[in-house]
Symmetry: C2
Subunit: 454 residues, 2 copies
C-alpha cells in the first residue's frame, strides 16, 4: 500500500491554517476594495508562448510545463532523446505551463480584454503561482501572490493610494512596519552625474552597507567594483545622505541639479510625500536610496515594506513599470502596483502572536448528542441558531461524553450545550463555557444568544 | 508580435464575473460554516501515484501531467519514441499531475494528517480542478468544485444536515430547486429480489423514461436489455411507484420485504425523512428511485438537485461512500458529502436574472478630479469615507469630464461626487446619483453617508 505524500515544496492547509490565511487575505481584499480595486482571476495554465522569455533565462527553467495530452510522442524524434536537449524537446511536447506570477497573466489579460476594460483599470488578484525552485525554509513551489495594479494612468496619485493601502493593511493586521520609498529615476540620475550608468546595482549594494561597515569600507568596495575615484568622490554626499525625507530631498536637488531625469525623480518623490502629508499615515515612510529591487523592471517609484519587530525580508513590495503590455503588442500602457507577501506576513503574525483569537475557531457551539429523542429536540433549535448567524453543530452520534467533549476541545469550540431528559422537560439548556469551565442552566434561545455574544 | 490567448477550455474572470462568482462562493461558504464545516486547501499538484487509477482508465487519460523539471530526457530511451506508447512514457518523464477533483486529494489529506484530525472531520474545500476533457459549451478544462464532506461518522444525521445545507444555500440564492433522494441499498435490494443484480443501471435508465414513453415501452426496453419476463413482472410496482414519499416507502417495504439490504435502505431513507420533517425545509424533497449517479461509488444515500425554473442538468449532487481512504491504507472510514456545481449555478442565476444588483458594483462613489488643489482637498475626505467602510475612488487625473463620467458608468459606480472651487469654498459636495441623474449639494460627511446608505 502506498504511503501518500505531496510533491515537495507544496503544502496542505489545515482548517486552523486556512482560518489564519483567510484572515490575511480577507484583510487585504477588504482594503483593496475600499480603494476601488476590482478582483479578476486568470487560469492556472497559460500558453507557454505567453510565459516564456518573460522572466529571464533562469525564470524559463523554473516554469512548470504541462505535458501535451494524448499522443505527445508523435511530436518527438528518437534523435531528441539521443541529443539530450531537454529544454528544446520540452517545447515540442508541452504547450502550456503553470503561471509563474500574476503580472504577466495580467498583462496578457489587459491586452486580450482591452476593448472591454475602462481605463484606468484598477485590478487586484489573489491566486497561487508555481515555480520549480529548489524548496527551502520559507520558499515554496506553490505560493500565493496578492497583487494590486493600476494600469493606464501615469498619475502619481496611484502611488499615493498604494502607500495608503499598505499603511491600512498593516494597521488592520497590527504589524508595525516601515515603508521604504525610492525612485528609479533618481538612481538613473545618480548614475548619470557620476558617469557610471551601468554600475547602479553595485553602488546601491555598497551604500546599503554603510551602517554595518562604515564609509571607508564602502568606498573600498566601490573602488573594487571598478568605479572611478572621481565618481566615488561625487558619490560621497549620496552615501552619507541622512536626515528627514525633506532634508534628503533638499540634498538630492543640489546633487542632481545637472541631471534632468534625476530631478524628475525627486519631483515625483516630493509629490508623493506632499500628498501623504495630508493624510494620517500610521507607518513610517522613508526615502531609501539603497532600494533597488527589480531594477530592470521598475521605471519610477520603488516601494518596499519591512516589518519592524521581526527579522524577515521584505513583506510587501512594488513600483511603477512602463510599458507593461508592450510584450503583447499594446504599447504605451504604464502600470504601478504592489504585492503583499502572504507567506511572510503569516510568519510575522505567528511569531508576534498577532492572529486574533477568534480567527481560529469556526463553530460557536457544539450540542452534545445523547440519542435519538434529544436529536429530534435539538435539530429545530440548531436551525434557529443558525438562522441568527451562530455556527452550531450537533455531534452526529451519541458517542461517549469524553469523545464529544474532546471533539469540542480539538476544534476550538468555545461553548458546549447539554440537552438531556431534564433539560428537555424544563425547556432549558445547560451551557458550558469551555474556557472557564463554567456551567449555566439557561432557558430559551434569546438568553442563549446573549450568552454567546458575551 | 504574438496575439495573446489562453489555453482552450480555460477562462479569465472579469471583475463583473468575479463579483458574481464570489456571491455564489460566499453564500456556500457561509452556510457550510454555519453547519460547522471547516475549510482546507490542498496543492494544485499531486503526485501521479496519488491520482492514477482513482478515476478509471478514462480518468487517467484526462489528467494533466507536469513534465519533470530539468533533464527529463535522461529518463527516456530512444526506443520509447519509436515504440510510441505515450501513456507509458509519460510515467517516466512526469511524476506530478494537476488535481482532477477534490475527493481524492481529500482522502489523501485525511490519511496523511489522521493523527492531527479530530474525527468526525467536517471539511469544506473550494478550489479549481483540471481535466483534459474536450471543451464544449458549459464544460471547461479548469473549473471550481465546492465540496463538503463528513468523514469518520456513520450517523445519518450527516445526511440530514447536508440536505439542510442544500436547502439553505438555494434559499439564499433564491433558486427554486427540487432535492432528489435515493439510496444505493434500495437499488441493491431491487436487484436482489428480481435476481438481476448486474442490471441495475439498465433498470433505472428504463424506469426514468416512464413519463415520456409509457409503461409498455419501458417494459419493452427492459426485455431488450435481457431482463427476464419474470423479473419485469416483479418490477411493475417499482416502475409504477408513485404518491408521496411516505406512500412510496410503504410500497417499498412490502416489495423489498425479502431483501435485508433493501429494507436497510428504506430504513435509512425513513430516518432522513423523519428528521427533515422536524425542520422547516423550503425545497421539495422527493424520493426518486431513478437516481443512480455514481452508482459504483456511493453505498448509501444518493442526492441530486434540479433547478425548477431552468432546463439544466443537476446543479448539486452527493451521497455516502464507504471506505473513502482505503485506497491510501486507512480502511473503515466512511464519508458522506455534497458538491455544488458553481458553473451551472452561475448560469441559472444569470438566466433567471437573480444576481443581486449590488453584487456587480464594487465602488460606492467616484470623486471627479479637477486638479491638484482639489486632489489635496479630497484625499483626506476619501480616507474618512473609507474608514467608514465606503468604497471610494478619486479619478487619478484631471481628465475630461466625459471620460471620468464614463469611467463611473462603465464600472457601475452608483454615485459621483463633484468637488470644485465653489464646493471647496462652501465646504460642500455636489453628489450625483448615476441611476436617477439627480444632483444634490450636500454638506459634511455625515449627510453624505446617509445619502449613500439610502
Amino acid at each position: 500500500m502506498q504511503k501518500p505524500s505531496i510533491p515537495k515544496g507544496t503544502r496542505d492547509f489545515s482548517p486552523e491554517e486556512m482560518a489564519k490565511r483567510n484572515y490575511i487575505f480577507d484583510t487585504i481584499k477588504e482594503v483593496y476594495r475600499l480603494y476601488g480595486f476590482r478582483q479578476i482571476e486568470t487560469p492556472a495554465m497559460e500558453n507557454l508562448s505567453t510565459l516564456m522569455g518573460k522572466y529571464g533565462e533562469e525564470g524559463d527553467k523554473l516554469l512548470f510545463k504541462i505535458l501535451n495530452s494524448g499522443d505527445f510522442l508523435s511530436s518527438m524524434h528518437a534523435d531528441d532523446v539521443t541529443e539530450g536537449n531537454s529544454a528544446k524537446t520540452a517545447n515540442k511536447i508541452s504547450e502550456k505551463g503553470l503561471r509563474y506570477d500574476l503580472t504577466v497573466p495580467f498583462a496578457r489579460y489587459v491586452v486580450m480584454h482591452r476593448n472591454e476594460i475602462s481605463f484606468p483599470f484598477k485590478r487586484f488578484q489573489i491566486q497561487p503561482v508555481w515555480r520549480a525552485d529548489r524548496p527551502q525554509k520559507g520558499r515554496y513551489r506553490e505560493f500565493f501572490q496578492c497583487d494590486a495594479d493600476v494600469v493606464g494612468s501615469d498619475s502619481l496619485l496611484n502611488e499615493v493610494e498604494l502607500i495608503q493601502i499598505i499603511d491600512e493593511v498593516f494597521r488592520r493586521l497590527n504589524i508595525r512596519v516601515s515603508i521604504k520609498l525610492n525612485n528609479r529615476k533618481i538612481l538613473s540620475g545618480i548614475a548619470e552625474i557620476i558617469g557610471e550608468a551601468d554600475k547602479i546595482t553595485d553602488i546601491t549594494v555598497a551604500i546599503d552597507k554603510l551602517d554595518k561597515i562604515g564609509l571607508e569600507k564602502v568606498n573600498e568596495e566601490l573602488l573594487s567594483k571598478n568605479i572611478s575615484q572621481e565618481a566615488i568622490d561625487k558619490l560621497q554626499p549620496i552615501i552619507l545622505l541622512s536626515g528627514t525625507n525633506r532634508e534628503k530631498i533638499a540634498t538630492l536637488k543640489t546633487i542632481l541639479s545637472a541631471s534632468e531625469i534625476g530631478l524628475k525623480g525627486v519631483e515625483e518623490l516630493e509629490f508623493i510625500l506632499n500628498k501623504i502629508d495630508l493624510l494620517n499615515i500610521g507607518c513610517d515612510l522613508e526615502l531609501d536610496l539603497t532600494l533597488a529591487r527589480g531594477l530592470n523592471y521598475y521605471t519610477g517609484a520603488i516601494i518596499e515594506v519591512k516589518a519592524l519587530d521581526v527579522e524577515i525580508g521584505s513583506i510587501t513590495g512594488g513600483g511603477r513599470y512602463d510599458n507593461l503590455t508592450g510584450i503583447f503588442g499594446l504599447p504605451g500602457v504604464s502600470g504601478v502596483g504592489i504585492s503583499f507577501g502572504a507567506d511572510r506576513i503569516y510568519d510575522v503574525l505567528n511569531q508576534l502572536n498577532l492572529f486574533p483569537e477568534n480567527s481560529t475557531h469556526a463553530t460557536d457551539i457544539l450540542f452534545v448528542n445523547f440519542g435519538d429523542a434529544e436529536e429530534s429536540y435539538i435539530l429545530p433549535l440548531l436551525a434557529q441558531l443558525r438562522s441568527k448567524g451562530i455556527c452550531a453543530e450537533l455531534y452526529p452520534e451519541a458517542a461517549k461524553m469524553k469523545k464529544q467533549m474532546s471533539y469540542a476541545n480539538n476544534n476550538n469550540i468555545p461553548f458546549v450545550a447539554l440537552v438531556g431528559e431534564n433539560e428537555m422537560k424544563e425547556g432549558k439548556i445547560t451551557l458550558k463555557n469551555m474556557k472557564t469551565g463554567e456551567q449555566k442552566l439557561v432557558s430559551g434561545e434569546t438568553i442563549f444568544e446573549s450568552f454567546l455574544k458575551e
